[in-house]
Symmetry: C2
Amino acid sequence: MENFISNNTTALHFGKGVVDNLAKTLDLKGRNVLIVYGKGSVKRSGLFDNVMGQLVASGAHVAEFGGIKPNPLVEDVENAAALARAHNTDLIIAIGGGSVIDSAKIISITIPVGHPAWNFYTRRAIPKTAVPLVAILTLAATGTEMNPFAVLQNLATGQKEGYGHPLCYPKHSFLDPTLTITVPKDYTAYGVADLIAHCLEAYFGKGDCPLSDRFIFAIIGDAMEHGPQLLDNLTDYDLRAKIMYDATMALNGLTTQGKVNGDWGVHGIGHILSLLYDTPHGASLTIAYPAWMKLHREKAAERISKLGTNLFGTADVDKTIKGFEDFFRKISCPVRLSDAGILNSETGKIISCLVKNNVNGSNYRLTETDYQMLLSNMQA
Amino acid sequence: MENFISNNTTALHFGKGVVDNLAKTLDLKGRNVLIVYGKGSVKRSGLFDNVMGQLVASGAHVAEFGGIKPNPLVEDVENAAALARAHNTDLIIAIGGGSVIDSAKIISITIPVGHPAWNFYTRRAIPKTAVPLVAILTLAATGTEMNPFAVLQNLATGQKEGYGHPLCYPKHSFLDPTLTITVPKDYTAYGVADLIAHCLEAYFGKGDCPLSDRFIFAIIGDAMEHGPQLLDNLTDYDLRAKIMYDATMALNGLTTQGKVNGDWGVHGIGHILSLLYDTPHGASLTIAYPAWMKLHREKAAERISKLGTNLFGTADVDKTIKGFEDFFRKISCPVRLSDAGILNSETGKIISCLVKNNVNGSNYRLTETDYQMLLSNMQA
């Protein structure tokens, strides 16, 4: 086991109706609040009005920034931060899924500084302070609600990257599974895939902590049991709750305690597919993970075998990889590039982009010579 | 799944040498620190000197209160609080196991008030503020290092009870498994038993959260795998680390999220045995749990069966109970009153004490008519 510090500073409010406790939980009187959201669905659903009603009744001054993209852009973060500065924002409330909350995290550390937000991603700048952030989650997938990470896309440089800093933990996150009931079947499945992939990134990371392995099997097992049930019963509150809870626990630090890190190579590959083809994040991962496991089937044989033993009742490496493929297919996720409509003729373009972004992973490292095999595995 | 709030405010510093980071982590200059400890072993080991050296070098003013008992007394808490007030204490550092840290939690909320500490236990008073507490753990068992609970004994009233309040979370807890290497074999085993019992209390609590069940199987499974290995290799750092981590995760909130509560009836029974016979806490639980499961073998059949399926590869209720007995015996813990030297002639006295303390449990409730059967189960 490795040394670690566990200090998750997000207060998680989970369950039916928890958003109604917003005003009771926060000191809102006189606060200058920026609400950040994506599409207009949070307005149509009444969620925005619920939040706005509590803010106005509590004497807060509210500005809003909508239109965050599903693959969120640093350009939007810059614009939101400028608006927030003009509004003297001292509290951010993000209403939405991973893209909105990730954007709000970077907005929260960009407001106080005089340099571009992307400087955090290039490590040219380190945040010293952040405007406090409260998250109201509407999609079970990324785990952003209880971690300090944010993935953004930079159109100008053609990059999609992750960033994390302890200042980026939301102060409070409100998770009402009811709010995810309108998420369509495909994106519900991508959420299940995403949370499983987060567990796998931790699992294939450096360092050995058997209890973390067991926690990982717990979360993946729960998602594999209840995910397909949910896809057959999209309006079932309790199944929505189970998957929402799985997604939070899959990336809130629990799975890497006692380890050095997660691998994150597969997420790097997935980000390239999203960048080039706007492939939904979860879908990019169900294509990339089996291909990645096949690439590392010898080096990672022991780890894959332990995974199979605990999830599929087989120690066989190939059967384990097939187990994941079968599960992803069962929840209607793509497992080959062609399933996502990406042609074999794109190979060169994808490899160039992998090279340009230096996609590797921190434990089972990828080199440029691996990319061709990886692409073949994603195709056949 | 039930609504819940997750807001664990303890920063956990885990691993080899972490106590050396104390002065780097805390702002100590000019602070009036009270060090709380139990037996002199923390002085003989050099741990006390390490802490004192960092405090003095940082410009802190230090008072100390030693002699906290293994079954800690509210009387000591009162005396420590009085000393702390005279010292204008603004930081408490507790060095020891559960008894020391539990005592320090109640000291931290007693210092600011003008009423007896036991008033918190009788709910006559609610704490409004606490002196910040830092814990340095030397025994893997109770989980107190990352939760807001404290068990104290009141000699005057003949009670042993638990209390919890969010103000009682340690601000920081330092867990170096090296510090547990000198714990003797029997107390190491009691720690393993205690952490397993904490998982079981959560498991038999009210409410249904399958992921919490899976986390519980993960922690118990890890302890059942590594506990016996540790007892054969008491100086093995990595095994000490695994069990120390298990113990923390067994009672830091993880296992009851999405549930109403834990049951805690068995802890109530165990506290009576400790109160009457000074039975070590973990040993009292290995006697009480099998007897409690037998008592509830019909009402809790489904739960016991799920436990057996996941831990012992059997769905049979009796085989599952026997599985626990066999494991407890394997780690040399008592599973009958006679194993702890408590005679059958004590039956009346134990039952009277159970009645007086109104021992029941919050889910599988015990009534006075159950006590006779419970005692029989602990005897035969």
